[in-house]
């Protein structure tokens, strides 16, 4: 359904683009119908940039994003509008997603103005109500209020309801629960996954391994703009192949295992001899092969079935 084909994002910094910052580097993966894929990475890994590129909020430097077989970069004007009818996003900060000086339900009004200008008011209200009910909100409690009068959880549900007003088939969910209160966040997550049954595919962007594990069928691990490992979520969690994934697994604070019980020193500090070549993880890799990892970038290869990894060590066994 959605296919990312070698996409790269280079930010140009300085006057008339003097310096380059490679935020996303040759990333390819796809998301199938009714599938939740987690895009997992730390800050600066480029995960949000990928989400924005899918949403056409930022341009793609090279590579191609296909939705239902069409290159989305070709969309303009009404074509783009039709694309947004099917692909939508929800972002991390619920309060930033609303214009603070307007009422929260203005986001619905915008959808009506842009997509359903001919629909009469009664019909529209009906549609909004049912959509709100679908996301577990009581329309009477939440309509006609300002954003700061609603909780973060309610606001995020609002955004999901907004997407449902359109014929959404693909949702980019960028860290949508990381700013919610612990006691309410899991419900939003449950709601999201529940939508899968309605034929929705989700790209779930997160830095939290346990959330990724909880929600997705497949996961993509991103490090400094590169995919280092991807595949079946369970497979990755139970048998991480890339040293970076292993580090993540060992570092994530868990409620069932203490750090002492996990393997000891797994991170390295090494000065890379060159910046331009080699594995992105070379500087921190405890198992790097000098002369190889610092000069060649490993390709993503299939280790186990449906389990890809970009590491010479892992690939060599």
């Amino acid at each position: 359904m959605l296919r990312l084909n070698g996409i790269t994002k280079i930010y140009r910094i300085g006057t008339f683009g003097g310096k380059e910052l490679r935020a996303v580097n040759d990333v390819s993966f796809d998301v199938n119908e009714c599938e939740v894929v987690s895009l997992i990475g730390e800050s600066g890994s480029g995960k949000s940039t990928i989400g924005k590129m899918i949403l056409r909020l930022t341009s793609v430097t090279s590579g191609e994003i296909n939705f239902d077989g069409n290159d989305i970069s070709a969309y303009k004007g009404s074509g783009l509008k039709q694309y947004y009818r099917r692909v939508q996003g929800v972002f991390q900060d619920p309060f930033s997603s609303y214009n603070p000086i307007f009422k929260a339900d203005r986001i619905f009004k915008i959808i009506k103005d842009e997509y359903f200008p001919e629909m009469n008011a009664g019909e529209w209200d009906e549609k909004v109500h049912s959509s709100l009910c679908d996301v577990g909100l009581n329309p009477d409690h939440v309509l006609n209020k300002f954003p700061h009068q609603l909780s973060g959880g309610q606001l995020q549900r609002f955004l999901i309801a907004r997407a449902l007003l359109l014929d959404v088939r693909f949702l980019v969910a960028d860290e949508i629960i990381s700013m919610l209160d612990a006691s309410t966040r899991i419900d939003v997550l449950n709601l999201l996954v529940g939508l899968k049954s309605c034929g929705l595919s989700i790209l779930f962007i997160t830095h939290d391994l346990s959330l990724g594990y909880y929600i997705s069928e497949r996961a993509v691990i991103l490090y400094r703009g590169c995919v280092v490992e991807m595949g079946d979520t369970k497979e990755i969690y139970n048998n991480p192949l890339h040293p970076y994934t292993r580090l993540l697994m060992a570092s994530v604070p868990r409620l069932d295992k203490k750090w002492e019980d996990v393997a000891g020193e797994i991170e390295w500090q090494r000065k890379p001899e060159n910046d331009a070549y080699g594995c992105v993880y070379y500087a921190r890799c405890p198992v790097a092969i000098k002369g190889e990892c610092d000069w060649h970038s490993p390709q993503l290869v299939e280790g186990d079935s449906n389990h890809f990894v970009a590491c010479f060590r892992a690939a060599n066994g």
Partner: protein, 330 residues
């Protein structure tokens, strides 16, 4: 860092080119032919008129094609040649202006620097002190709203005419001959003081207000809270806040330069202080476009230089620009 300066230089260069081009247009698009004015001023009569007309057209290069004139103008600028003044014929414009520039520098540099330092210190002192904030700072707002020349007029009236404490015209006593002697410097000072004071007072208010607002922001900054939590005395916290608030004030100074220079021009007129402002006014009243052109160019170069100095100073005093300068999108 080199990149930062390259970028800055690019902007300065562009500004300079645009300014010079505007400048070049001045005498050419003004109604009336400057040469006619020279001839009429020289009091030439009869056959001499056409003879001198040709001569001056050639001398100013006005008989050349427009593009050539533009090119020649650039060449002339780099030779420091800004043509001949009409009103002060036959003085070269450069010479006339160079005679005035020291007065401007003597007025502007101390006025800008002292008001900036004093205003900032006062603003920092007044910030968060309720009593000062409510009594003295409104005065600051009023001062910034005062037109420079009006303050000049009032000062001249009060100190020069009513009380006769200070002279109200000229660069130094008309009874003196320039020399590096105490009485002469004293006279220079006396004549300098009122124009200086009117520039100082107006700017002082502006800086004080700016600093007050900035320091309040700084005192609310995280590092101030952290220092307070570690029991650092108020003095240290305020010192840091003050020093950090100075940086945006430095940028503010660069932004204000044009306004300050304008104020100085008006003030010079009030006090007949023999600087460029006074020359500009005379040039306008006497339709001396070449002089006007030269003055404009000098002011632009002066402001550009000052901006550049401020830029460099900023890099020196703000470690963030030094450490993190990557060309900055600001």
């Amino acid at each position: 860092m080199a990149k930062y300066f390259r970028r800055k230089l690019l902007i300065y260069l562009l500004t300079f080119i645009i300014a010079v081009t505007v400048d070049w247009c001045i005498p050419r698009f003004m109604p009336g032919n400057p040469v006619d004015l020279i001839i009429s001023r020289a009091g030439l009569k009869g056959s001499a008129v056409s003879q001198m007309y040709t001569f001056y057209m050639q001398a100013f290069g006005l008989d050349q094609p427009i593009w050539k004139q533009y090119l020649n103008f650039w060449i002339a600028i780099f030779h420091g040649d800004l043509g001949t003044s009409i009103f002060l014929f036959p003085s070269p414009v450069t010479k006339v202006i160079l005679g005035a520039v020291p007065y401007d520098l003597a007025l502007l540099i101390p006025a800008i620097l002292t008001s900036w330092f004093a205003g900032n210190n006062f603003g920092a002192f007044a910030a968060r002190s309720k009593r000062l904030d409510n009594t003295l700072l409104p005065l600051g707002y009023i001062l910034t709203g005062t037109p420079y020349m009006w303050l000049g007029i009032v000062l001249a009236w009060a100190f020069g005419i009513a009380w006769r404490i200070f002279p109200i015209a000229g660069g130094y006593s008309f009874a003196m001959r320039p020399a590096l002697t105490l009485p002469f410097i004293w006279s220079l000072f006396q004549h300098w003081f009122l124009p200086f004071a009117s520039l100082f007072i107006v700017q002082f208010g502006g800086w004080a207000i700016g600093m007050r607002n900035l320091i309040i922001y700084e005192l609310e900054a995280d590092y101030s809270h952290y220092l307070a939590a570690l029991g650092a005395p108020k003095r240290l916290v305020r010192k840091y806040a003050f020093q950090n608030a100075m940086l945006p004030q430095l940028t503010g100074l660069a932004l204000q330069l044009g306004v300050i220079v304008a104020g100085a021009l008006a003030t010079e007129v009030v006090f007949s202080y023999p600087g460029i402002g006074y020359l500009i006014l005379q040039a306008i009243h006497n339709e001396d476009y070449f002089l006007l052109q030269g003055c404009f160019l000098f002011v632009v170069i002066g402001v550009l230089l000052a901006n550049f100095i401020i830029d460099i100073t900023y890099v020196i005093v703000d470690p963030r620009t030094r450490a993190g300068m990557q060309g900055g999108a600001s």
